[in-house]
């Protein structure tokens, strides 16, 4: 009896908090068929927002993947003073509000900040433009690739890499032939998480982009702006598109993650 009651409470909680709200949005989006959905997403503003989103997320994922692999190898395979501190700093972005991320970047890279002013004199505008949005996205998604790879690298051990070295392989060869194949699933998992976080970032990008319609507007900013301007169909359509991306992400991570959760028993 108690068992069934607990099951009911848990399922009802998730149903009313997560499932029904998402289903309702999808329902309202497709309520009038596929036409309005496609129409809302192919307006020039929506297409532009989509392009900005993909550009920003693409750069952020590339940067964080390179940094993530490098740093994970450093943390697991190398010995240096301050290792624990580096590990702690990498997790720092998790504890920072997206709005604070935006403010932090403005204070350093804004036009009136010393560093931002210098870049501006070289003709590089960071804030209210793509570089700033990439920086903000990199910041919020920074730990994801590192944290996905570190445990797998630890488990892998370095015996095979050492063997490759003794047989005359260079560092790069050993990395490409031994390390990379060993971490490929974890790397894929980290990249998918990083991509989803980057596509969906709202707060940090809202601050540094200046929210200029048709210029620096990403898909998430488009959702908010359309909703505030009483264009519900467009807001719902873009939100549904983002929700679909989230669901695909969820299934992909399920596929890529080592089966250690519910099959463990």
């Amino acid at each position: 009896m108690a068992k069934h009651a607990l099951r009911l409470v848990a399922v009802a909680y998730v149903l009313f908090l997560l499932v029904l709200p998402v289903i309702l949005i999808v329902w309202r989006t497709f309520g009038d068929g596929l036409g309005p959905f496609v129409e809302a997403l192919t307006s020039p503003s929506a297409l532009h927002a989509f392009k900005v989103t993909v550009t920003v997320a693409g750069w952020a994922v590339v940067a964080n993947t390179v940094f993530g692999v490098l740093t994970a190898i450093l943390l697991v395979r190398h010995r240096f003073p301050g290792k624990r501190l580096l590990g702690a700093f990498i997790d720092l972005p998790m504890a920072v509000s997206p709005v604070v991320v935006g403010l932090a970047l403005i204070l350093v890279y804004g036009r009136f900040a010393p560093f931002g002013g210098l870049l501006e004199s070289w003709g590089i505008q960071v804030i209210f433009s793509t570089p700033g949005m990439v920086l903000a996205t990199v910041f919020v998604a920074l730990p994801l690739v590192v944290r996905a790879i570190v445990p797998v690298l630890e488990e892998l051990g370095d015996e095979q890499e050492q063997a490759a070295h003794t047989l005359g392989a260079s560092r790069l060869q050993a990395f490409i032939r031994i390390t990379l194949p060993g971490i490929r699933w974890a790397l894929g998992y980290g990249i998918v998480l990083c991509l989803a976080r980057s596509l969906g970032e709202y707060g940090a990008v809202a601050v540094v982009s200046g929210r200029l319609v048709d210029q620096t507007q990403t898909l998430t900013l488009f959702v908010e702006e359309r909703f505030q301007n009483f264009d519900q169909p467009a807001a719902f359509a873009a939100a549904t598109a983002l929700a679909l991306i989230a669901v695909v992400t969820l299934l992909l991570t399920k596929l890529l993650r080592p089966k250690d959760r519910i099959d463990g028993n």
Binding site: K3, L6, R7, V9, A10, V11, Y13, V14, L17, L18, V19, L20, P21, V22, L24, I25, R28, F67, L70, L74, H78, F89, I90, P93, M94, A95, V96, S97, P98, V99, V100, L103, A104, L107, V108, Y109, A113, V138, F139, R171, G200, E201, Y202, G203, V207, T220, E224, F227, A235, F236, A239, L242, A243, A246, V247, L250, T253, D260, R261, G264
Partner: protein
Amino acid sequence: MTAITVRPARRLAGGTAAGLGVAVLYLSLIVLIPLAAVVWRSADQGPGYFWRSVTTPDAWAALTLTIGASALVALINLVMGTAIAWVLVRDRFPGRRVLDTIIDLPFALPTIVAGLVLLALYGPQSPLGINLAYSRAGVVLALMFVTLPFVVRTVQPVLLELDTEMEQAAASLGAGPFQTFRRVILPNLIPAMLSGTALAFTRAISEFGSTVLISGNLPFKTQVAAVNIFSQIEGDNTTGAAAISTVLLVVALVALISLDVLQRWGSRRG
């Protein structure tokens, strides 16, 4: 006698030094220097100005609302997260795997979309007739949505590892189900429950996107700290924004340090 070990001074290998240099530069340019700039800016007009920025009526109202709502949401997660983890590990019913997958949805869903979907079901056009828009309950609901996975995902692996033999032993010695739970299971779960709760709390105090649409951002009523910071930035008061940001950073840091202490305590208990 304590043995004194002297570490030989070791030069870093060339590859390590170069890699470390790149990683530290990247981290500094994107995370560390900008965050230091926030703390620096909050202090550059002196402690008096800092205090006045934090205690302006609207900033203070936003901070207390944020911390209060986050504490409430953390408590809800402590109970509901543990219950959901329990059902996922110990119960068998059709749809359990789907439930297990869905739990992570708040991590994957953009926060602005989370706010929008909640507004659809619990807003002015609610098919359930429940309208929480522009109310503090709406803020709490949004925070509940984005923090749902934390406690579930910290408690679940511990429950999976937990041996059922001890529970059987307790039952065979005459303990009732409640007694077994309180005396045998709960002590093993508490470290994981508390660390999940601390994570949920830090996430909640920093939340922005999901509260924007459903709260209506009414100062003194539903405006959370992150939204207050946002409006101060828009109003070009970066020093005030930096002061409130610093308070949020410190609160998050305190929560995370207590989490670290808790984890050490938990691992010591084995």
